[in-house]
Amino acid sequence: MILLGFLLGIIYWFFSALADSFILGRMGFIRNIFTPGPGELINRLSGAFLFMAMGWYFRRDLIKRKTTDKELDSQYGLSPLMLNQLGSLAFVFDRTGKILRFNSSCEKLTGYSFSQVRGKYFWKLFLEPSKAKVMRERLAFIGQQDFIKEHETVWLIKGGKRLLVKWSNKVILDQGSNPKYIVSVGTDISEYQVKQSLFKGFNRQYQGLVDSIGIGISIVSGDLTVVYKNRQFKEWFPKESASERSVCHDLVSNFSSKACGLCPACKTFLDGLSHETMVEVNTLGSKAAYKVVSFPVIDEKGKVVNAIETVQDFTKINQQEEEIRHSYLAQAVINSLLRFSLENISLEGFLKCALSIILSTPWLSAKSKAIVYLVGEEPETLALKTHINLSEEESRGLEKISFGENLCGEAARSARPQFSQNEKAYRHYYLPILYSGVVLGVMDIYLDQGHIYHKQEEEYLAAVANTLAGVIWRKSNEDRFQKINSCFVNLGVDPLTNIQSFVSLSGEILEASAMFYQRLDLKTNVLELVSQYLKPASQVPELRIYEDFCKQAIKDNSEVVVRDISGILEEAKGSLGPVDKFKTFIGQTVKAASGHKGFLTGFYKHNFRLKNDDREFLGIIASAISVEEERINTKRSLDIAYQELKKAQQELVQTEKLSALGRFSSGMAHEVKNPLGIVLGGIEFLEKKLEKSDKDIKLAIKKIKESTLRADGVVRNLLKFAMPSEIKTEKVNPKTLINDTLSLIRYRVSLVNIKIVTEFLKEDIYISGDKNQLQQVLFNLITNAVEAVPQGGLVRTIIRQSPAGEFLAEAACLIEIIDNGPGIAKEDLAKLFEPFFTTKRDKKGTGLGLSISKIIIENHKGMLTVDSSPEQGTVARIILPLIES
């Protein structure tokens, strides 16, 4: 190295001479080499000397490095090869920070080769400027003790990348015990740090979760010491109030320091399984309940190292369970009351039973004494209705309480529950019995002395009182319902349906003093509805006075009319009797599909204001009545229709019977008539042949002949009936017709002393018809009449003119044959026109006369009727259309 310095000195000399020659133009080059001027000499000498000094210096440094290398390699075993074997980062520097060794891992990590960094300060190369300065200063004054064994340092490597390296330092001292070499072995922890920061984040979250979970968590070690508590656990069991042992263990084992084998943690340590138990802790007078569950933490060898205890607060859950139990019991009591209310017992009986049921509520610390007061007849007064277990002495003076008089009265006045706190006597709950906001009474429950007010109890009793209210209202109105019921029974409507409708729809019956339904067409009161204060009927006001109100309401098409009638009554006072007690009149019009049918009228003792409920209730009754009105109308129409249908059916049957008879008769006639002809021929033959025989034989022959002819008559009539002759119409004067007929009968009639009178119209009227057939009809009817009356009887034959619409659509001729005979029985009257029906079997009637007559008249587009009643005689009417005269 010295030689190199010398050489460089010579070269410098040489080049300086050359420079002087050419640049400065001074003398020749050779001359300048060897004979420099004094200035140049000094310049050249100093330059050469400098180079030589540099050579010396570098030589010395090289020697030193060799010495150091030798020392590190052989004495301390820190050869590059050795350090490369380490696998982790390793480098050696002297106490100034010069790098002496730099293993392959460092090369790989930093991107610098050992030769590039050798002899350079590591702090200058790798540390941030600020940190580098600090490091240089520290190294300058560092002692052995000052060296940090382990530290994490950020290294800047090639490309500006930053790495976090965790270094472990080993200091090699010189003989003076000063640091000589420092060996740093490190690990790149950049990724680890990132993961660790992430982990810390997770950990924080987890911790937050564990703390906010609402469950106390503690970790108990094998000696039952708590090694971890979450926030909830600390809150429930503050350090000052608990030992360092498991809280549950302390509670179960009574603070034993030894394993108890009973608490969940101890059990878990014993069998490695999960266990749970309930513990109660009394804190500041209140009782808290916890559910403790232990879970084992098992290591790799399967040994239980820790037990995790979770603690859940069951205080609220227990309270809720208790509340649910109370609600259930309350509901059970209410259900019992409702069930009981359906029994057919009196209101008083029900209330007694109800009080027994209420007092049997297990959690209600009531005495077995209670009273029910109901609002009495006097306004704003409570009257003792029933009590339970009160002695006569106790109940004395409680019969009547005015509203606001005491706490009981106050409960009634304010409609709010009251609690008496009298120290020396029983305590009471006074519960107003409220129905739709109206106080019906007060329930008084006796409690123990010193009983503390409990809101839950009050709420329960209020609910019971409300239930009672419904039942009391219903029971006390049952009587009124029955009245309504009976009214609707009278109306014909299903009462049960209506009552149910009233209860569900109205909710409350109108407080009517008297209420009536009056039909517009009939001046009768159909419905007597409610009478709360008066026995109605006898004290009904004169309805006519108020008809005008209702008629006006109908005219105005308004449904309800309300009038103050006190003035009107005042004027009429005295004449109306008890009516003057009424102050308000209400009229509700009743409409049906066919129009207004009538009105409901209500009379009230007080100034009545119609509420919506009342309107609804009135409307319901009005509807029920209108339905009934419709029903009555429909029934009437149906009855008429039914009667007509029945009649039509009978006629149809009759027609069918006649038709069948006709078909039958036609075929039969021939078959009967021939044999009849033979019989008749035979009889007449015998009659002739036995003309001279004895009279008995002749009488017998005569009888046989008569019967044969009678049979023949029946068959002839039957054939006429079956096949009526064609009508040969002509203009007929009924007078002539009757006179002609009477001329045929008069002879017979005169024999039996019967009077026949004719009552004819003066003027002549005419009909169109078959004279012979009509004469046959008249003959039948007059003969019937004559045969019906006894000797000396009277038969009237009347002709009169019937106006259009009376019997027929057009004007008609009415011929009446009236007898004063015994009349026809009702059952016979219905069968009168049936073929073969006769009441004259003894008089040889065939039973076909009237049926044939009816057919003949009907063929003439007329009507034949017979009206009769026993002992009243009979009227036979022939009605035939008139023709113009």
């Binding site: 008539k673 002809g677 008749l680 021929g681 033959f685 054939l719 096949m723």
Partner: protein, 125 residues
């Protein structure tokens, strides 16, 4: 003595009519039980009057009447129709066809005799 022919499928009926007529008046009565037989008999027997039943099997009274009125030998013989049929149709048919008389069975011998006399008198006049 007047000759009467009874044409009726009811033999018993014809028998009693014959017997009663013979008892009632001076009649010679023959009977036939069918229309066909009656026509033959009428031609041969030449009755003064024929009593003819309408409702007969095979050839009914109307057809028999028609044939009697078609034959020259029997054309002028008056006929009294006898039938169980009492309807207007039957009467009209008999009347309008040949203007003959009509009686409804069963007929009393007096009525029949009177009718025969009436018809014979009318014929003779």
């Amino acid at each position: 003595m007047k000759k009467i022919l009874i044409i009726d499928d009811e033999e018993d009926l014809a028998f009693f009519v014959k017997a009663n007529l013979e008892l009632a008046g001076d009649y010679q009565v023959s009977t036939a039980t069918s229309g066909k037989e009656g026509i033959k008999l009428a031609a041969r027997f030449r009755p003064d009057i024929i009593l003819l039943d309408i409702m007969m099997p095979a050839m009914d009274g109307y057809e028999t009447l028609h044939k009697l009125k078609s034959e020259e030998k029997t054309l002028a013989i008056p006929v009294i129709m006898l039938t169980a049929k009492a309807d207007e149709d039957s009467k009209m048919k008999a009347a309008t066809l040949y203007n003959e008389d009509y009686l409804v069975k069963p007929v009393q011998i007096d009525v029949l005799n009177a009718k025969i006399q009436e018809v014979l008198t009318r014929r003779n006049s």
